[in-house]
Symmetry: C2
Subunit: 364 residues, 2 copies
């Protein structure tokens, strides 16, 4: 990489973890996937009620495509006891979903119907069907908080406490593709590295991790007193952030981008109790990333993080992608707005609102 | 203690760490010291600008006494380079202050003019004067956050990182009375225990710690997403909370009550960026404590925590106390209001707003 290089071709860009909601929020946010420089978006199913039927997931995808015709949407089911192996096979047959998202009960927005991460065996018939069909298991890898005699689980160790369950799932289903979503700790990075120690070919990666843009910037001090930066999993310590930045910029095929961009109306962020968890980074996803990759002198690895690694892991073929335009990120100072709004009362504060970024995107 | 005992005489009750502000907030909050069951309040000097002159501290005390004639106010200076040994001697001579509060720069509300905790030697002439006069040094024991090659200091380890500085201060000034204010970690409790290992008589305690009410309830999960519970030092892990509860209920003379009750207008707590740090617990101080002491079966040690230990440490005599009424805490279910207001636009959300407490206070 030349230090003076001012633009980088990123290929077909992917954000493998987006929350596009429904209703008015969906209308406001869905077009921002493209604005942020993303071609392919993997869509989370935690609507209320959650997405768990073929009809609903197809209808949701239609809605999203009508709002953003050039964006490729990959769809998912919400893991729960209503899902059956038969449904997985049927959904795979028509290409309705690429994955199933697992939320531990109660850990984040709309996760009340989630699962008990201490007891995955009830889902083993489902995981077997997913393994057979190449359907990805997307894990929100946190144990729910508890304080007591036996163990303390809290927002800081919730992810690390989950890692043994991840390893056991991989042992029990070695051909099931698993993603530890939005990982936030050095411990998680180490576990993903260990699992992939013998991987020679990107196509052999079975367990990967997504990393958000905001976790490359934030530590605990940044959300203490700043609900705009409060999300689950919470941003951890400086040493964790360094491990995430190193992993994201490493060029390795098992670390790739999933923004976990999660819009909330600003009135649900500016509260003295019950602030919604989630950082909204969709509208400037690639520029946020470029900012960090630049500080590391690693802009040449950004294409792996947002394109090569995710396309390979999800085994996407050119015919799966609606737009074949490449994204280029280039040097340009832009101001992050204080608010993104539909002009009809819906207002969302973007990550780093009011700050300046030094990269922008264009489509070639 | 009898399990069925439904009231406890607490003697002359003390809250050795209160923020009473100035202006309209002061008018609203100062009377709540007595409402919360407290006779003696040690008042923090972090007004804007900070309290650093004899005239100002006397004027502030007059204001407080006019608002709450039956409450005894102990006053303090804000540690900064404008203070001189001569001023300490002069203030001690007229009994204007009982202590000097040290804020590390930038760690909490109105601490911009605070000191660098890596370099206390500049204040050694001042500490010598304080030692001679029996003036207490009140330490906000946190190092400011920094992330870097040499060390990472963040809101979680900021207090533990400060403890070596506390130990050095005690070694250098063995007769200076020092309080580690609002301590929040098992590490801090351990350090205070170690320093006092050889103490036989309460009068020999030179280094003590105050503990707030809210830190006996809260852990990191409680302020993640709930700015009402966000304060500095932040509430830590469940294991830290257990250590605090054990220390508070231990009956030891070097752990006593300092609520660090810190009112903010609710609009400064319900913000998506820049939430003010501070929990307001003044108006129900004793009932909050009784709630925790009851869960431990230790209501019989509450009098030590709020009366015997602080009166002894500050060496207060009966003639220093304006009211000689004893406080009794008794079983009575009360609802914590959602808001405390002056009816003229100032609104403060109390700790655990909307919850229920099972103890109340009366003055005998």
């Amino acid at each position: 990489m030349s230090e003076s290089q001012t633009e980088y071709d990123l290929g077909i860009t992917c954000d493998m973890h987006v929350h596009l909601r429904d209703g008015e929020m969906c209308k406001l946010i869905t077009p921002t996937v493209k604005e942020g420089g993303i071609s392919v978006a993997y869509v989370m199913p935690n609507l209320s009620p959650p997405v768990i039927t073929l009809e609903r997931v197809q209808e949701y995808k239609c809605t999203l495509e009508s709002l953003a015709p050039e964006t490729t949407f990959l769809m998912s089911f919400y893991l729960c006891k209503d899902l059956t192996p038969e449904l997985i096979h049927a959904a795979a047959k028509v290409g309705a979903i690429q994955g199933v998202k697992c939320y531990p009960a109660g850990v984040t927005t709309n996760s009340a119907q989630g699962v008990d991460p201490n007891d995955f065996t009830v889902f083993y018939p489902l995981f077997k069907a997913m393994e057979e069909e190449g359907i990805v298991l997307n894990l929100h890898g946190e144990k729910p908080s508890v304080a007591g005699e036996k163990e303390d689980i809290h927002v800081l160790n919730a992810e690390e406490s989950f890692l043994p369950a991840l390893k056991k799932l991989h042992l029990d289903f070695p051909k099931l593709k698993i993603i530890l979503e939005h990982c936030t700790t050095a411990a998680a990075i180490k576990t993903i590295e260990e699992i992939n120690a013998d991987v020679k070919d990107p196509l052999d990666v079975m367990v990967a991790a997504t990393i958000t843009a905001h976790h490359l910037f934030l530590t605990i001090d940044d959300w203490a007193g700043n609900p705009i930066n409060f999300c689950k999993p919470v941003a951890k310590l400086p040493s964790d952030k360094r491990a995430l930045v190193q992993a994201a910029t490493s060029g390795k095929p098992y670390f790739f981008f999933g923004s976990d961009s999660a819009p909330h109306p600003i009135e649900n962020k500016a509260k003295h109790v019950g602030v919604c968890a989630g950082v909204f980074s969709q509208s400037l996803a690639i520029p946020y990333l470029a900012e960090i990759f630049e500080t590391q002198g690693k802009l040449d690895t950004l294409k792996n993080f947002v394109s090569d690694a995710p396309l390979s892991f999800y085994a996407l073929k050119p015919e799966d992608i609606k737009s074949n335009q490449n994204v280029t990120v280039f040097k340009k100072t832009t101001n992050i707005p204080e608010i993104i709004t539909d002009g009809k009362g819906l207002r969302v504060a973007p990550f780093k609102a009011g700050d300046e970024l030094h990269w922008a995107v264009r489509w070639d």
